[in-house]
């Protein structure tokens, strides 16, 4: 029983790490530009397809597709931010929601057109498959790899945000974009780079997540709720908040589906509603 619990916990942590990786970009975008971007999952999907397609059709090894997925998604994010998103930073939440739903639909249609509507298989390299014995438990190698990678990335991100000048600029712009601009911070460039970074991370997460979350054209809609959840519950604009929220949600979702399969995803939605009611600004949300 305990062994099972630990296994469930580990799976939940792996799942949560993935949610965090994909969702952190959304959180920063929301905290920074106050933009509700429902299309964030589309960047993850893009990264996923880059990985799947380059592996299957070009024979690129799995690990090499990861930076590729990151770069392509980041580039897409950069381009879209400069051309479209930028125009809507001051728009009403409704306009932002509609715009991003529009992008989702376009991305889903494009994915169906180019890649068909079925699940994309991914051939994980042999050294990432199977299980390994850790502390008396059998843990999936791939999930271990996931968690390790996300921990490294989260540390890099935290360092970037808290120790570098770029990070200071991002934090200043999050806190007060007008004042930051007044101090000479190139807020537009900060927005563009941050958006690209967030989209790139989403793409990376999408590629990493094919094995865990699956990949088909409905990905952005299917998982949209989860990413939004991480951000809304964690509080926009904070890494710590996103991590905590992602882990809570990941663990509860896996545990819920394992112990109470009849309730399915109901638990996670109910948990979300409860958390949002108790913490309307998110667990670590800033005061407006």
């Amino acid at each position: 029983m305990i062994g099972n619990l630990a296994g469930v916990l580990f799976d939940g942590i792996a799942y949560g790490s993935l949610l965090f990786l994909i969702g952190i970009g959304l959180g920063v975008t929301l905290g920074l530009m106050n933009f509700i971007n429902l299309a964030h999952g589309a960047f993850a999907m893009l990264g996923g397809y880059v990985c799947a397609v380059t592996m299957a059709r070009l024979g690129v090894p799995f690990l090499a597709t990861l930076p590729l997925a990151f770069l392509v998604a980041a580039l897409a994010g950069w381009v879209l931010e400069r051309t479209l998103y930028r125009r809507l930073y001051r728009a009403s939440p409704l306009d932002q929601v509609l715009f991003s739903i529009g992008l989702v639909l376009v991305s889903m249609a494009a994915a169906t057109y180019f890649f068909g509507s079925s699940q994309q298989p991914v051939n994980l390299p042999g050294y990432l498959r199977g299980q390994v014995r850790v502390l008396g438990m059998d843990l999936g190698v791939y999930r271990l790899f996931l968690v390790a990678l996300v921990v490294v990335l989260a540390s890099i991100l935290t360092y970037l945000l808290e120790r570098t000048r770029f990070g200071a600029r991002v934090r200043a712009s999050v806190d007060n974009a007008v004042a930051a601009a007044g101090l000479g911070i190139p807020v537009n460039r900060v927005f563009a780079i941050t958006f690209a970074l967030g989209s790139g991370l989403a793409g990376l997460g999408g590629a990493l997540g094919i094995d865990v979350l699956g990949l088909d054209p409905s990905f952005p809609l299917k998982y949209m709720v989860y990413f939004l959840l991480v951000v809304a519950v964690g509080g926009a604009g904070t890494i710590k908040g996103s991590i905590v929220a992602a882990l809570i949600l990941g663990i509860f979702d896996v545990a819920g589906k394992y112990y109470v399969p009849e309730a399915g995803a109901f638990i996670i939605y109910a948990l979300m509603v409860v958390l949002l009611v108790l913490f309307p600004r998110g667990l670590y949300g800033r005061r407006a």
Partner: protein
């Protein structure tokens, strides 16, 4: 001098013409009445969303929850022997309204994003619950075997959908007239005030939360009636009545037609559904793609949707005259 930006009470000629169109359609398109009923039902559904979105300013991604509640209420009543249609409508309104009332406590707090998430979450929760409670709702297979008694004891629902069409039209029209009154009333004015500046309202004595709860409950009840009409006219209730797709499509329709104008939802619903019935049959991927493009275009270039565009056109023409 009476001056207000809210439309005055008398019916404008354009409005009369507008409502004559569905009446004429009954005679001109006798074999499209099933689609016609669907359009009317969706128009009512869109009207209910306009009340909270266009007037009170609450962005909801889960309004189908109340539509589905109403649909399943009416469907279950019929399946279990209660075939009287009108009382089922009342029951559906009550159940959906109750759901809206309970949800309203959650919706009046928090930021725009949390409200969005809460409405989304409620919709998803209800969908999952209906999915799991397959013994009650029929789950993925849906609820069928809905047979109804004749309307008012006189008119039996026929295969060609004639009675259903008139039924939907009358219900939709009566509810529309009531909402038209509400929108021009002091309560309606307060809703617009909340949308324009929610922070100022308490400072002039208005209990904003209480007003929002009231309109949310009313909106849910109307959505429930629309759902019940769907169940009764198609004699089937599927999980999709509660689904996110339905909530999202509704939002799109309302924005397409123009929010906050009462007629926007009706126009948007008609245009969307008629277009969808033709285009989506050709190639669903194309439909999805162009719908997405259209949404992006509307947000960037054509705020206010169809009615907004017409309004700007009229203003431009008046300026020229």
């Amino acid at each position: 001098m009476r001056a207000t930006l809210l439309p005055h009470g008398r019916w404008r000629p354009a409005e009369v013409v507008f409502w004559l169109v569905p009446v004429a359609a009954f005679f001109v398109f006798p074999d499209r009445l099933v689609l016609g009923s669907q359009v009317l039902i969706t128009a009512l559904f869109a009207l209910s969303l306009d009340l909270i979105l266009g007037y009170a300013g609450i962005v909801s991604l889960g309004h189908a929850a109340f539509f589905g509640l109403g649909a399943y209420t009416a469907g279950l009543l019929a399946v279990h022997g209660w075939g009287e249609p009108l009382s089922a409508l009342v029951a559906a309104a009550a159940v959906a309204g109750l759901g809206g009332f309970l949800a309203s406590f959650l919706v009046v707090r928090g930021t725009d994003l949390t409200r969005l998430m809460v409405t989304l979450g409620i919709g998803l929760m209800l969908y999952e619950a209906a999915n799991r409670a397959a013994f009650l709702t029929g789950g993925v297979d849906g609820l069928s075997g809905i047979t109804l008694e004749p309307l008012l004891g006189l008119w039996r629902f026929d295969i060609r959908g004639r009675v259903a069409y008139v039924y939907a039209l009358v219900v939709a029209f009566l509810l529309f007239v009531a909402m038209r009154r509400l929108v021009r009333s002091p309560f309606g004015l307060q809703l617009v005030g909340i949308r324009e500046n929610a922070a100022r309202m308490p400072a002039i004595g208005v209990d904003v939360a209480s007003r929002l709860r009231a309109i949310f409950t009313l909106s849910a009840a109307l959505a429930g009636i629309a759902g019940a009409l769907l169940a009764q006219t198609t004699q089937f209730v599927g999980l999709d009545t509660l689904g996110f797709q339905r909530s999202a499509d509704l939002l799109i329709m309302l924005v397409l037609g123009g929010t906050g104008r009462l007629y926007g939802g009706l126009v948007g619903a008609a245009v969307f559904m008629i277009a969808q019935s033709y285009l989506s049959g050709l190639n669903p991927v194309y439909w999805q793609f162009w719908l997405g493009i259209m949404l992006v275009a509307i947000v960037l270039f054509a705020r206010g949707g169809i009615l907004g565009g017409i309004g700007r056109l009229r203003a431009a023409l008046k300026g020229r005259a």
